[in-house]
Symmetry: C2
Subunit: 341 residues, 2 copies
Amino acid sequence: MTIKDIARKCGVSVSTVSRAINGRPDVSDEMRGKILAVVEECRYIPNNSARDLVRSSSDAIGVVVRGTSNLFFSQVLRAAAQKIEARGFRMILRQIESGADEVKTGAILEREKKLQGLLFLGGRFDYTRQEMSVINVPYVCCTYTNWFGDLGEEDYSSVSIDDQSAARQAVEHLICSGHRRIAAVVAGCSDRSISELRYRGYCAALEAHGIPIDSRLVAETGSFGMAEAYRGVEELLRREEEFTAVFALSDMMAMAVIKALTDHGRRVPQDCSVIAIDGLPLSNYTIPTLTTLEQPAAQMGEKAAALLLDMVEGGGMPRHIRLEARLQPGGSVRRVIKNRE
Amino acid sequence: MTIKDIARKCGVSVSTVSRAINGRPDVSDEMRGKILAVVEECRYIPNNSARDLVRSSSDAIGVVVRGTSNLFFSQVLRAAAQKIEARGFRMILRQIESGADEVKTGAILEREKKLQGLLFLGGRFDYTRQEMSVINVPYVCCTYTNWFGDLGEEDYSSVSIDDQSAARQAVEHLICSGHRRIAAVVAGCSDRSISELRYRGYCAALEAHGIPIDSRLVAETGSFGMAEAYRGVEELLRREEEFTAVFALSDMMAMAVIKALTDHGRRVPQDCSVIAIDGLPLSNYTIPTLTTLEQPAAQMGEKAAALLLDMVEGGGMPRHIRLEARLQPGGSVRRVIKNRE
DNA sequence: CAGATGAGTGGAAACGTTTTCAGCCTTCCA
DNA sequence: TGGAAGGCTGAAAACGTTTCCACTCATCTG
């Protein structure tokens, strides 16, 4: 069932059918009605490949998102989608799994759909300038990485919270609450991911307050998973170093941290406080609720989309937007009376 | 940068370039090496639209998944993806948002990519036979609905747990633990979703044990959200009907239920037990851990993919696979000594 | 050595659209 | 009444591939 069949059925040329379908003004209403009726009747759906192939330019923005179950980025995505629609563009979403290469996916999408711009959401994103050169449209990254190969600041755009400062705020909140022995459960300390940035924020906060950094209080889990975070805490406990608070990389990891502490007889927050970064809706439903630094997910999505569209429409220059994370007070942090040492 | 440019650069015809790129045997190794080098150097990426347009058949299976942040279906998806790859097919994923029409999306995908089959994951799925007629390839549903318009059993395939029986098992587990006043927090009781099926299972369990169904113990939240579930519990408490256990529609809702109970001074499980259905990894990290009926997500994905591929390859007939949910004991249910009334 | 074989290559059609251009027929205006 | 203008339509080119067919050589085979 192609446009030709419809044309034949209607006794007109394919051009006319095409125009009718695409809402062009230069078709008589009578003709349009007739054609649309036939289209409806035959359940004809135009072939998108052919369309994309011939259309020279488009109003499409591609979004490549990594991972299927990331609660945080799905919030970002929703906001970005809304913004893209609002500015009169079409959004084309591609989701990729662990194995795939997001840049290649983006490049394919670019050619396939004649994209105007690309938005990368989530995932590690450590590509070199060389690798990025397959992308010929403006793009914005909203990802888990702080390191972009040999890309200079002026080569790409990004939107994120200031991870280091957020972590610092979190840890300072603990310090201000009287904690001094503060453990950290992070994915990695030098893996060029946001984990590293947040770890640096942790260190910065401690240093600023004259608290020595003790590597025995740091658990590197290697990944962002809950099971790993749980094991990280067990490792910490096994070391028998005293600590009264834990800084967790993310809300999900914080849940696992709290669970591990509880399972090993430490009450949260009475015996040990926990703070995290993310501010997922979920964090309001844990017991205790999470004290966490809320990443403005919606704002991130919106800003990322806006930045991208500015570059697309106005030829705006690459920029890096850093948003503020906001402390979302919860029940997992307890103020302690510093017992003089 | 098209295949023509590559051909020109190599001094050969487009046919040869095409063959080289696609690994056809009828190109001399020398030629292939030369062409591939140029391709690499120019970062040429074939245009997928053109490819799809001309290729008459494909090995592609389309997956249309509704919603971006569904932890359960992302597990199902992962397993399905694996199976599809393993059987030598390509998976093409389309994610859609609340507004979109999954059948239309599927139909477009079908024509665009010359699909061999379609898998629908998540979402309400109440289309009529008339609406489904745009789909011309085998398809399998793994969705939130128990009602498929006027579709007969033989018209489509589906994979799910036996929701009614799972709910019944859950509630019977509560009954066997000594509970008799059992509340339910469901999305709807007659909305033709799995919520209804689970509600029916709840009723069945009560009836089987001679416990009258009390509508004052049932909170209809209207949706699967956490905030709604929380409010549902508040509504239950406001009614001042006594209950010692709550059956929650899903793990996420159970979290909210537990939170609401706790916030209102009821300890879980000491004062009130909670049971749910889902068995998300998350449920092992809540406090207390969730007693829940585990839906075998991986198995569902795998079975759905397998069923679909059987239909595609062997022309197998539509089937309906019902898997068993397994009780995953947790800490949210407490055995009570029935105090004689 | 003649013919068959087969590997490697090029030409061209085909995929299903959109869009440009040209043409026809009305209608309108002077 | 002649011409311009404008609404509507059709023909054909173009988009970038893949693949069928035909062709050229070199290499066998008997």
